[in-house]
């Protein structure tokens, strides 16, 4: 068990390191010039900055040093919790992220709840309904949802609830009311993934011999699914949590942009636009950490829930 935990922990650390390294290489090794972008954005009257001033700015961010030195220096700072300085605003990245985080956490929490509830509901009804036509219709809901771009779902919800019915605000982040539409937007796209995976797992599980035994014992289909199949089919869903986190990050960028919420996603969108590399990289590392921690938690919970995986030294079978 100790070996298992240590292995998983090591894996989580490697994920964070990999995300840091990949983002560093792509941002700083490619021939991009964030300082020029900043200077051109700042030059309102078209005035030029002298070469000496330019060199001083470049030196301040350490862009004049060899790549490997920059890499190790930033890695060292990262380990002490220093995420660097925003090229655009000059304030620390930690401040910028700290200001944006609460809004995103609220959004993510609501989205996960909605995503899980709707996803489970769809997967459950799709497998329980008697009419095969209706079953096909419900089964096609998640793939259909995932073919609709996230921003379109958001705009559609906004059009109906904010503009036509006028019951919910279409932008901003004050109070719970402003959270409902963004939460639904993100939650519905998450539910498509959950619904697809869980629906398929339940379907597969229903073909196993023990289900036949239960049918012979004349248990009703909903009862079989709820009390017996769900436990077995639900486990792989824990592994889908990782996929959910990936979708969540992509989703916040779009959702927060549509609803003008000052969160991490919106910050990322602005930072990409202005080539604010330290902020972009910090957000990448932050999301990789979240992803790693959530997966670690899932890896540690699964053996507790599933006794078959409790034997030491046996890796659990990876889903997908």
């Amino acid at each position: 068990m100790v070996r298992y935990v240590a292995g998983r922990l090591g894996h989580a650390l490697i994920v964070v390191w990999a995300a840091y390294t990949v983002s560093f290489l792509l941002l700083y090794a490619l021939p991009a010039d964030p300082v020029s972008t900043m200077l051109s954005a700042g030059a309102v009257d078209g005035s030029t900055v002298s070469d000496a001033d330019r060199a001083a700015i470049v030196a301040r961010f350490g862009f004049d040093q060899p790549l490997i030195v920059q890499y190790l220096r930033m890695l060292g700072h990262l380990l002490t919790g220093d995420l660097g300085t925003s090229i655009q605003t000059g304030s620390t990245v930690t401040t910028a992220i700290g200001a944006a985080l609460p809004s995103t956490l609220q959004l993510a929490a609501l989205a996960i709840v909605i995503g899980a509830l709707v996803g489970i509901l769809v997967a459950f009804t799709a497998n329980v309904v008697r009419s095969s036509v209706l079953r096909d219709v419900i089964f096609s809901v998640p793939p259909f949802l995932s073919a609709i771009p996230n921003f379109l779902i958001g705009l559609l919800l906004m059009w109906v609830f904010a503009f036509q019915l006028g019951v919910l605000p279409f932008r901003g982040s004050d109070g719970f009311e402003a959270l409902i539409l963004p939460g639904l937007t993100l939650g519905l796209s998450l539910s498509a993934r959950v619904g697809q995976v869980l629906g398929r797992d339940i379907q597969r599980e229903l073909r196993t011999p023990y289900v036949d035994v239960l049918k012979v014992k004349s248990l009703s289909r909903p009862k079989i699914v709820m009390t017996h199949v769900f436990k077995n089919a639900g486990l792989p869903v824990l592994s889908v949590v990782g996929v959910m986190i990936g979708g969540l990050i992509a989703g916040t960028v779009i959702t927060e942009t549509i609803f003008a919420r000052p969160g991490i996603g919106r910050l990322l969108q602005l930072s990409v636009e202005t080539q604010d590399f330290p902020v972009v990289q910090a957000i990448v590392v932050l999301s990789a950490t979240t992803y790693a921690v959530v997966n670690l938690a899932a890896d540690l919970v699964i053996p507790v829930v599933d006794p078959r995986l409790r034997r030491p030294g046996r890796a659990r079978t990876k889903v997908e």
Binding site: E273, Q275, A288
Partner: protein, 288 residues
């Protein structure tokens, strides 16, 4: 490279049966094919489909609802929305094709080498892929866009590269599955050398699943690129793209619903068609 695979697969492998099978398949698949053909027509020859100018303003007719003259209505300065969507198709579809091409070539090499030669190549390449899998697709694309700058081409490159890692895994497992089949073992046992083994035996049988996969990835790329264009990372306005047309329509959505509805319907129809077609490819491949 795709064409070579296509030709070969049409003759011999499951994809050939898949393509022939289309003729006797349900109406949904036919509709999907028709939709994709229309989209290709839009992209290839926009001037054949519409005679209007995508950039010509008509202030008197601004924000006009759909009518016989303006099929999809007009935008905030009176440009014909249908024309703008048709012209926007070229940028959006081409970007998706470029992205798929990049993702396919790179991942076919990585996955192919790893799965065909195994051993040290496999371990090194797969560790490399693991490195990139640590960053979610969307974030990887956004990192690349911050480094490369905005624009349709850069978006296409970013999307293509960010699809490579997960696609390499699929390519590798496809090749591995073929490598384990009896006829490959038989060929090996009878002393066939690796170039011939690869070209004659492995590639033709990997082509079917790959065709289905690429069709699916096309839909994903369309969605991905539309999202990035919506966020303002694609072509700068007034150049039309499916994504930025919707971003533009967002400002007028309270009054001019058609500005987001029609580009949206076009995107969803394209993605659903690609998904449906991919599904029927893989279904035929399995049963046939």
């Amino acid at each position: 490279m795709t064409e070579v695979l296509d030709e070969r697969s049409l003759r011999r492998s499951s994809a050939g049966r898949a393509a022939r099978g289309l003729l006797r398949s349900p109406a949904v698949v036919v509709v999907s094919v028709v939709i994709l053909l229309v989209v290709v027509l839009f992209a290839a020859a926009p001037s054949l489909v519409t005679s209007q100018d995508p950039f010509a303003p008509d202030i008197l007719n601004k924000l006009a609802p759909p009518s016989a003259e303006h099929l999809f209505g007009t935008d905030d300065i009176g440009r014909d929305l249908f024309t703008r969507i048709v012209y926007g198709t070229r940028a959006s579809v081409l970007a998706a094709l470029v992205a798929i091409a990049i993702a396919f070539v790179v991942s076919a090499v990585i996955g192919g080498v790893a799965g065909f030669f195994r051993g040290i190549y496999d371990s090194v390449l797969m560790r490399l892929v693991d490195l990139f899998l640590a960053v979610p697709d969307m974030l990887l694309a956004l990192i690349l866009i911050s480094a490369l700058g905005v624009g349709t081409v850069n978006v296409a490159i970013a999307v293509g590269v960010s699809m490579v890692a997960s696609l390499s895994l699929v390519m590798r497992s496809t090749v591995l599955r073929v490598m384990h089949s009896p006829f490959v073992e038989a060929a090996k046992a009878s002393g066939v050398r690796w170039p011939r083994l690869l070209v004659r035996h492995v590639l033709p049988h990997a082509a079917g699943p790959v065709l289905s996969l690429l069709t699916l990835e096309f839909g994903i790329a369309i969605l991905f690129i539309a999202s990035l264009s919506f966020l303002g990372f694609g072509a700068p306005l007034p150049a039309p793209e499916w994504g930025n047309l919707i971003a533009e329509g967002r400002n007028y959505m309270a009054t001019a619903w058609w500005m987001i509805a029609f580009p949206g319907i076009v995107i969803v129809a394209t993605v659903l068609s690609a998904n449906r077609l991919s599904h029927s490819f893989s279904e035929r491949g399995q049963t046939a």
